[in-house]
Structures are given as structure tokens and as C-alpha cells.
Symmetry: C2
Subunit: 433 residues, 2 copies
């Protein structure tokens, strides 16, 4: 089975909104071993919908059409599919009655155009929409099954699970894939590749997909075969990857964000954390508090852009700023120490750097970032980085490092130093503290 | 002229990466009055690329193919287009030599597969890539012009400006559109629509496109016609919108983010700002410092999740927290006052709320947010909101309100109260302070 996805909606052809429903559908299809081999977007135009649907249905065993099933005049998916496949389109009286019922229950008069949602393609099965008024439809042609689903993401997702998933289970001969995931922060993709050399030799390079985003690597493993084989094959591969990556692995699911893992680590230890930030401007605190329930371990944060506030809020000594500059190993160490002591937390992390585009000085180019973490029992670590990229990128990667440093210190892992040289070690201050 | 966009790359058919190059291209085409009427994604597969390109070229006057022009074996755009149009594909010796030259200049041996980038379609013009090694190509068929451009966004954008823009200018008979934009924060779309009723009566509802995102509305106006007409027509419409929206308009370009406008306002006044945050966890500070040069007006921020830190850092009186709760009008007023005084800033904004999913109490459901702003000369304002949505949404919209409150106070505008009732006024505390 090969699948195509056709998204309908003129707003998806403009310069603002990207088409993302197909990503959710691709994830579901992928779990069942069905590749998406083409996708397309049609505006709210009967002919264009008809052209794209006819082309997709002629070349695929499964076609999912999303959007354009609503009540308004620009919802033309039904008409487009009817034209593409030469099917009739007739009003279903039961469906019309249930739509009317829906409005009566809300005590609202139903606008007449709502009945368009009761128009059903010849031979189609009507698919209930538990979250909205636009029902879906499923129909068969020679060699292709088509699903028409609403474009509202929550409705699409619920109906894909309820309608497409069972169809996949019945029509893909158990070709389901076992999927595994590992996550690694603050490592260059090239460094990861090097470490995984033995894995590639044993399993081949196509056994692993690496998705790289700023300071974060997601490793995806998939194994086909019968259920028993798949599970043991996946377990074996993940174990091999873990043996090569060791404590660099911080998560084992796409949903495991670094801030969530840090939060779970702190919560499990009954420990608290604070941040002392300069160039990240509150980003580390913002990420820590993105996690529901973070009040269990997050106490607060001090953000100091000005040198005066670094001294007043965090107790950084003015003569140290004078001597080493606000972006220095000594200053971040004092920021972390001061914040931890003053806010009475178990852990404190501090960041100071030059995010750019301005602010570079002799020997400290844009992207220079110093970090320090301090924990109980004298535990501490520091890093100096030279990060590539624009302001947003520098700030984001710096926040990744800050979170990773908390994680490692809280788990009692040794500080990682290797990546520092990867991005260019800053000589002065490297040996300080 | 009608345009289609074909993006090539298997990674764009998966569950992680959305196709976004077409958004940039659509913006450029739109400026010249050229609508994108279809777009599609093909994996790294010669047949699929050929099918999609043939279909697009048969129905459009302009087709842009992005991606798949690199040196590796899975870069098959050239082969796919050759198959679609029945063109030859031959190595261009000049191009091959300039690729080799490129590598010699870097002192690196050129892998042989790099020469694939010198394969040129029969009849095509080679388009220089100022930022990368993969050149583009332009070719004509009966009724259609095709541009093949690299998929790396920066390279695509530079080449679209250098190659497609002049082509559009020459081939669209001055059908360029005059585009205008206005931005409004913290207003419900329905409330905006109501205010714009007279505009819709005068110019029709299709004269305006509204893009709504969380707490932010972007109004797009476009006017066709000859250059003189377009400009005066646009000026007239924008003036009418401004007369209806008054000081609710904070920006006049898609690039004018609220944090940037707040920054420009503060910088122009030579004023400084700090934040005192609870439920937003540093988000307001993070947004203010996203803006390059924000150190000119942003001093720092205090984030206090715990009640102890609200007292210690911001001077909130414990008996007030005891009496009114940490999420209350009195507490945010003291947070703003304390932060402004202690950090010695001209303006301070404070946020405390229940972002959820936990934390709701009797009378204070998830989404309850209190905000306060304090400025020089006794200037101050407060708001109480009940925001819909999940944790991320509540935090984001709260940060919008915080920024908008700073903007209004710094510009000497009266506080806005109307929207408070839109989302449900919180009775207790409404008259406090």
C-alpha cells in the first residue's frame, strides 16, 4: 500500500500558513509501514481538487483528502471528488436530519447551507465526526480507497484514529513497524555519526534516521517483520545505540523534551532549581516552566541584562566584571552561586553570552557563551562555547546547554567537555575556578 | 500567469518536517499578483518528480521546482524534469570547471559526484547560486516557464529574488499588487470584525484578509491597478482602517512583532523596563530580549513561582498573598511596584495566573490571569483575564497582554478595558487599587 495526501484549502497556498495535517497522517501511516509517496495542496476550486484527486487515486492504493468538507460555499471537496471519480452527489436525508437535530439541541437556527454537509458521494460510507459537524466519507474505486476527512486538526486526528487506523490494520497484512526513539542534546551530528560507526557497520546506515534541530538530535529506529521479531529487533538496536551513546541519551520518545526530562529528574530527587540569565533573557526559565507541574521544582529566576543588576541581584562582584567582562567564566560562576544562595535552591544554572548581532568584543565574537551550574555538596560545572548562527539560534542552543548541564549534575554524571572543543574552546578562562 | 510549486525531498513526506519554502515563494509571487494555484511534494524519486512536474507544467504558466539539485545520488530533480519534458541532460564543461575551481579554492578534493551539479537540461539557462554550489536552471516549454532552484531556504530566497523577481516584473504586465498590513494585539477577531463593519460596507469583505493567531491579528490589504491607483487606493483603505481601529493598531508590517514595537517605543522615550513574572515563567522577558539591541531598554526580570520568592524578590506582603491568593489583583500590583522600585526601572509589568492544567481553585479556573503595569509619574494599569486554551496558549496570550500594556502606558494611551469583558470579567478585585 502506497499513500497520497491531498489537502484542500486556499489558505494553504498563501505565504503564511504551512500545511501540517499531512505530518500527523504520515506518522500514523508510517506506524503501519505505509509510505506517503506524494502530497499536494489544492485551493478551494472544484477543478483543481478534481485534477489532484484523480491523479492521486490513479497512482496510489490509499488517498486521504483533508479539508473542504464544511458548510460554506468555498468547501468544494465533495464536488471535486465527485467530478474526479465520476460519482453522483446526493443529499442523505438521515444525515440532514441529524445535522438539523444538532442545531436544535444548541437552540440555534440552522443556516440552510449547513445541509451541504449531508451531500454524500455515490457508493461512499459516511464517517461520523465526534468533534464537529462535518462528517467524513470513505469510498472505493478500482484499486484505491479514498478517505475524505475534515481539515480541523483535532477532528482530522480523531477521525484518522477511528477510521483509517482500523483500515490500515486490516489492509496492510500486519506489516506494522516497531518504532523506537532516542534523544541526545548538545552534540554535533558529525560527532554522533562518529560514535555510531559500529552501529552502522552492524545494521547498515539505513537502519537509523537522524533528525537534527538546534542542539538536539532525535534518533529514529524502525524494524519490520512479525510482531515477535520486530520487538526483539528493536530492543537489540536500541540497546546497541545506548551502549555507544551512554549517558548522552536523555530521552526515549519524541515527546520527551529536554525541559521535561530535567523536570522529571529534579522532581524524582525532590530538588529545586533556579536560573540566572543574561543573554538568554529568561528563555531557560521559560522552558523549565513550560512543563505542567513545574512549580514542584522550579522556584524562580533572575534575569540581569545590566551589569548593575548582575551585582545587585546575583552578587557578582563589580571588580570581576571590570576585570573579566560580563561575558566570562568568573561572572557566570558567581551568577550561579549567587542565585542558588539567594533564592535558596538546590541547583542554579547561569548563562552569559553574546547573542548578537551586536556586542562582539576583541576575543569574544558573537556566539561566545559561558555557562555555569552549581548544585548541592559542592557540585559544579562550567562550559565555554562558540556557537554559530543568529541571535535566536545562539540563545536557543545556549538554553539547551543550560538544561543539559542541570540534567547531568542532578544525575551525578560527569560534565561533558568534548563538545566544547568541537565548537572552539575559548582559551582564557578555560582553566579557571 | 498562474503558478505551481513542486518541492522535492523525501524528508518532506515524513511526519516531522513541514514544507515551508513554498510560503516564501508564494509571498514573492503574490507581490506580483501571481496566484499559486497548486503545490505538491515529491520524494527523491525520478518517476514521481517527473509525474508532478509534467502535471504542473501542463496546467500553469509558471512552475517552480525547489530542492533535489545537490550532488548526492538522491538528488534527482534534474533527471525527473528531463523525463517530464523529454529533454536531454548533458554535463556542462564550463560549469564543471567552475565547480572544480570552487573546491580547489577551499583546498579540498572534490568528490566525483559533485559534477552531477553540472548536468544541464537541454535548452536550459544556468542560474548562478551565490550562496551554494548547486546552480539553478530556467527552461521554457510551450506555454510554461520552469525554474529549478535549490531547496536550502537561504539559497532559494536569494535566487528567487535574483532570478524570478525580474522574470515576474517582465512577464506580468505591471499587474503588481500594492500590499499593506496593520497589526492589532489582544483583540478578539469577532470584536475586530464588528469595529470594521463600516470598512466592509465601503470596500467589501474581500478587500481585507485577517490572519488570527493567539492574541494577535494581522490585517492584510491588497490593491490592484496601475501604480498610481494602487498606491492611492491602498493609502485610502489603510487610513480608513486606522480611523476605525485607532490606537489598537501597534504595527504596520508583518515583521513588526509586538515585542519589537514595544522596544522601539521604549528606546524612543529613553525609558527602561523590567518584568515580574509568575505563570509566564520568564516568557515576557524572553520576548523582550529576542529583539536585537534590547539591552538599550531591558534591564532584567524577576521570575517567582514560589510565594516565598514573590515576597523576597518583589516585596509582595505575605498577608496579601494569604488574603487574596498569589493569583490576584493586589499581588500583581505589588509585584509590578516592587520590581520597578528594586530594579530601578521606568516601567515594570507583572503577570500572575493559572496556566494549567493544574492549579485551579474555587472562583479561579485555569486561564485566570492578572496583570499590572507601573510606569513613571504614577502611571499604572491592571487587567484581569480569563483566557481559553492550554498551558502554552494561556502563557502566550498573557505575554501578549503584558507587552500591549507596556506599549499603551509608554505611549500615554488609556488602558483598554473592553476585551476584559469579552473574555469574562473577574468580579472580585476588578475595582481594587
Amino acid at each position: 500500500v502506497r499513500a497520497a495526501i491531498v489537502a484542500v484549502g486556499s489558505e494553504l497556498l498563501g505565504s503564511v500558513r504551512a500545511e501540517t495535517n499531512s505530518l500527523r497522517l504520515a506518522a500514523l501511516l508510517h506506524r503501519h509501514g505505509v509510505p506517503v509517496t506524494a502530497k499536494s495542496v489544492a485551493g478551494d476550486d472544484v477543478d483543481e481538487v478534481a485534477t489532484q484527486v484523480a491523479s492521486a487515486a490513479g497512482r496510489h492504493e490509499l488517498v486521504i483528502v483533508s479539508g473542504g468538507l464544511g458548510p460554506t460555499a468555498d468547501d468544494v471537496t465533495r464536488e471535486g471528488v465527485a467530478a474526479a471519480l465520476g460519482r453522483s452527489l446526493e443529499r442523505d436525508t438521515d444525515l440532514a436530519e441529524s445535522l438539523a437535530q444538532r442545531f436544535r439541541a444548541m437552540g440555534v437556527r440552522m443556516p440552510a447551507n449547513n445541509l451541504r454537509q449531508a451531500d454524500v458521494l455515490g457508493g461512499a460510507a459516511v464517517l461520523a465526526n465526534p468533534l464537529g459537524s462535518a462528517p467524513g466519507q470513505r469510498l472505493e474505486t478500482a484499486g484505491c480507497t479514498l478517505f475524505l476527512l475534515p481539515g480541523v486538526p483535532s477532528e482530522l486526528e480523531a477521525m484518522a484514529r477511528a477510521e483509517i487506523e482500523p483500515w490500515l490494520a486490516a489492509n496492510t497484512d500486519g506489516g506494522e513497524l516497531e518504532l523506537g526513539c532516542l534523544k541526545v542534546a548538545c552534540m554535533a551530528e558529525s560527532a554522533l555519526d562518529e560514535r555510531l560507526e559500529p552501529f552502522y557497520r552492524e545494521y547498515g546506515s539505513e537502519a537509523l534516521t537522524i533528525l537534527a534541530s538546534q542542539g538536539d538530535l532525535t534518533l529514529l529506529v524502525e524494524v519490520a517483520g512479525d510482531p515477535e521479531e520486530r520487538r526483539s529487533g528493536l530492543g537489540e538496536r536500541l540497546a546497541r545505540l545506548r551502549s555507544l551513546l551512554g549517558d548522552a541519551v536523555y530521552g526515549e520518545s519524541v515527546e520527551h523534551t529536554l525541559e521535561r526530562v530535567v523536570g522529571e529528574t529534579l522532581a524524582a530527587a525532590g530538588a529545586t532549581v533556579v536560573t540566572a540569565e543574561s543573554c538568554t533573557g529568561g528563555l531557560v526559565a521559560e522552558r523549565l516552566t513550560k512543563v505542567p507541574g513545574s512549580s514542584a521544582y522550579f522556584l524562580g529566576s533572575l534575569v540581569a541584562y545590566s551589569n548593575r543588576l548582575k551585582t545587585e541581584l546575583m552578587g557578582v562582584r563589580p571588580e570581576v566584571i571590570e576585570r573579566s567582562g560580563a561575558v566570562s567564566a568568573e561572572v557566570v560562576a558567581q551568577m550561579a552561586h549567587g542565585a542558588r544562595a539567594r533564592l535558596e535552591a538546590d541547583y542554579a544554572v547561569a548563562v552569559s553570552g553574546i547573542a548578537g548581532p551586536g556586542g562582539a568584543t576583541e576575543g569574544k565574537p558573537v556566539g561566545t557563551v559561558y555557562l555555569a551550574v552549581e548544585g548541592p555538596d559542592g557540585g559544579a560545572a562550567q562550559r565555554q562555547l562558540r556557537l554559530p548562527g543568529d541571535r535566536d539560534t545562539v540563545r536557543w542552543i545556549a538554553s539547551q546547554h543550560a538544561l543539559e548541564m542541570i540534567r547531568r549534575l542532578a544525575l551525578g554524571l560527569p560534565p561533558r567537555g568534548r563538545h566544547v572543543t568541537d565548537v572552539g574552546e575559548v582559551a582564557d578562562g578555560a582553566g579557571e575556578r
